[in-house]
Amino acid sequence: MNTAATPRALRLDAEAEASHLPALLARAEHLAGTVLLGEHGRRRAGMGDDFWQYRPVQIGDSRRMIDWRRSARSDAQFVREREWQVAQSVMLWVDASASMRFSSGAHLPEKSDRARLIALASAILLIKGGERVGLTGTGLPPRRGRAQVLRLSEQFCANTDVDYGAPEARAMIPHARALFVSDFLGDLDAVEAALTKAADRGVRGVLLQVLDPAEESFPFHGRTIFESAGKTLRYETLKASDLRDRYLEKLGERKDALRHLCAVSGWQFMTHHTDAPAQAALLWLHRALERSA
């Protein structure tokens, strides 16, 4: 991304970039630590490592399935069932475009910062729960284990200069789950295409829209030129305060469109603001990903 001319500059940039990594990771771990894992497992017998229950042998059970140690303590024969454990694959996509690097005030985090924090924290939670987590696209296929967290956080440190990001929907594993985090202020068609593609593959998941409070309240006055973060779009108004109602209307329309899109494709949608605590969003995400399973 950075075209550093000399090795020295390259190293400096690399260190500067790398310095974000532990911080993001630590914060994400911290955030994930606030969620108590208690409801993992499928609560029914199935494939898995953990003991679930003993049941009498039924017709059709092979002899090999009999747990002889248990059966020896009584007259009947018992089969030892294990809890059904399915390792799900969760595919993440976090918008790294320029529009995410916006915050309206010095005390507010950038949208991308909040988006990555939430995504990484839920990834940590998922990995702790034994799921496999990866990125959509071909960059980082789902895997399990702590090393994957490190790889994820590394990937999250990358930014792109594109003005508005489009969801990456390639190489999605069928019937996996997905988490798309973005402000979804860009082209809605790309989102629709991605969700359609995901629905085709039986992938369900969550859209998390991260918005800055300024984008929600439009607190502007006077003659103003609004520019997109990449400066590709501009809009000039003479009386910004007059635009507020119509802007909010359009924002509502955009959310409704997203919500509708999710509804028809079996996804879930939520809007998160950067001035709200990240934990609430994380909890919701955790439950939502459980549900969508």
């Binding site: 916006f102 402000d183 103003t224």
Partner: protein, 910 residues
Amino acid sequence: MIGALGFTAPWLLLGLLALPILWIILRAVPPAPIRRIFPGVTLLLGLKDDEQVSDRTPWWLLLLRMLALAALIIGLAGPVLNPRNDEAGRGPLLIAMDASWASAADWPARIEMVERILSDAARADRTTALLNLSAPQQVIFQSANEVQSTLAGLRPAAWEPSSDAAAITAFLPDETFDTIWLSDELARDTRAALSAIFSSKGALRVIAAASETIAIAPARFEGGATIVEARRSVAGAARNVPVDVHGKDPSGAPRILARAEITMESGAKSALTELSLPSELRARVTHFALTGTRSAGAVTLSDDSLRRREVALIAGREDREGLELLSPLHYLRQALAPNADLLEGGLLDILPAAPDVVILADVATLAPAEDGALTEWVEDGGLLVRFAGPRLAASDVSRSEEDTLMPVRLRAGGRTVGGAMSWGTPKNLAPFTEDSPFFGLPLSRDVTVSSQVMAQPDPTLAARVIASLGDGTPLVTRKPLGEGQIVLFHVTANAEWSTLPLSGLFVSMLDRLAISSIVGAPSGDDLSGTTWQPVSVMDGFGRILDADALVGVAGDRLLSDALGPDLRPGLYEGKSRRIARNVIGAETELAQASWPAGTDIRLMQTRPETPLGGILLSLALALLMVDIVASLAMSGRLRGAIAGFGAMMLLGFPADAQDDAFALSASSELVLGHVITRNPEIDRTAEAGLRGLSQTLFFRTSIEPTDPIGVDLETDELAFFPLLYWPITPDQPTPSANAYAKLNDFLRSGGMILFDTRDADIARFGASSPNGRKLQALAEPLDIPPLEPLPEDHVITRTFYLLQDFPGRHTARDIWVEAAPKDAERVEGMPFRNLNDGVSPVVIGGNDWAAAWAMDARGNSIFPIGRGFAGERQRELAYRFGVNLVMHVLTGNYKSDQVHVPALLDRLGQ
């Protein structure tokens, strides 16, 4: 030039024409936009602005900018208020100044005017000269700078310019010159002649004072009132002129004795006011001055003419009651009353009032005390006038040898001429000799003397006679005694012995003897041959200066000559009186000068020319500043600035907040205080002790104090605390005087200090332990009433708990409180005496209560007290003492009043 406004570059004003064009241009240009990064711009893309009006600059902002621009253009055009437009001339320039007293009132303005003329002349390279018409000198034209250097010494004269035009003409050079005449605008005979001369030499311009000249006429005494008159040169608008009467107070210091106001009607040239001053006060008046006008004309000095002499009239026994015309004093009263203040009464009563003259009418013998006092008074300068009479003639006074208080010896009996039993006819008066004070008085033939006392011929007699009869017998004799003199009229003061008291001559003779004051100015003839020494003179500004170095003035010139350098206005002293020469005489009229037709007259410009360019440019700048703020507000960029400004404002007030915090914390709840001793250990203990006491109070009583506060006597306000606990250490600093003042206020307003020497009072009565001595030193400046050891029935023993011991860490019995009144008696049947109201301002003890009360944050005792259960009992009693003490502070003698409850219940019939 528009009115009083002029422009140095008027063509620039054409720029104002461009303003409407600018209006249109500026109106079309919207305010500059602000750029914002905003990802939501995608949502905005389809939207359109509703109205197009707001893109224009609002009209008020436009108006602001127009005003700024207009101010800029006008400012650059160089506006000048009161511009001078003197056209420059050529050749020498003469500046003639009247420089009289009438110029003094606005003298600085005149000097400024001259400076302006001189600087103009210097710029035009003209030679100049200054001619002071009041003190003319040879005119020599010099460079303007030279003349300028002489201005500093120029003062207005206290007199008017010489009336001799020729004398002034002699000083003028032959060459031609222009003249600027700074006139005082008073009418004067020489004006026409001088203006003709100046006009013949070149252009003449007269610069006239804009204001009228006002002056004060000499005060006079008429009908019992002092009359002060103000006159002015122009019969102008109505105005009030305040007058100050200056004089000396009894200690001799100059001060203003009285104030009055003269109201001048519109169109009147003079007005007067009547002041009724007591004669004693009037005698001390030195001068009258118009307040607010600095000139010699506004001051008039008073002389003897205002003074009324005090004359004591004393007659012998008046046994002929009711016959007024025969009273020895009747004619004297008639003669003196208009011009003198008369005193009558006993001689010893009158002499302390220091009369100027004592007249004894037919008084023969005086008591020795009266004799001595009168002699002393005469020797100090008094004038004693005696009249003969039957009683004097019958007495032995001054018979064989001369009495001190008689000018001559008298022969026994006297004589009677022209009576039924005598030969001869009544005698007439002989003409007065030249050395007589009566010299020059006209004799009237109808004054006859029929009886008189006779002087014994003596070697000194001839010199003492100042009036005699036609046959040479003395009628009036006089002798000096000390600084005073004694005059004897050899006849009676009534018409019994002579017709003298009936004649006008009698009054004149009394006048000449300076018995009555001389009303009206003395004539020049009276003064001829005398020399008058100036005592004080006035300068042109009306300041009164000592005149030690000035030579005397001949009497005949004093009143008639015009004032000038050798006859200055002032107070002149002769032998027996003082005469004031004032700038304005009784007859002087002020009149406006009249100039020959065609004279170039201009008013003096007192308003200086003021360039207004700077003001207008500043205004333009200020308007542009406002425009910046307004533009920012318009484009929505002002919010950050306002927040920053607000933060700065908030930072401005930290100090007060601190005081307020102390006051709030000390007064929002009840708080006990302890005095900070600067010994950390003691202070900690005191705080912990009070905390323990506060906790105890909180749990056991309805007093619920918060945490105690350490009080710094120097800085903290004490009024918030009901009780101060003051542990004594030998080395604590003594409070400052201010702190003691605060402490005394605290004690007087019902506060209590608990002094704790913490030494168990082992030395008894706090005498000789180090802490006790320190306590004595600390408490010395405090306002503490007499103390006594706490009596058994003191209210502290029962305000909450019933106590007889007041232990702390120690168990000494003695604590000291304000002593009960001496008359406190124990009423039969009552358990307690009826003791003093109020709260004992101090309680002094040494039991180290703080240690016993001390509690840490968890409520555990900090210090061990005593041993085992007995120790805990002692601590409990210490708490109870604390509770009782605070209750006493807060409820006063409430519990003392409880002793009346049985009686009250009885009365209610319960």
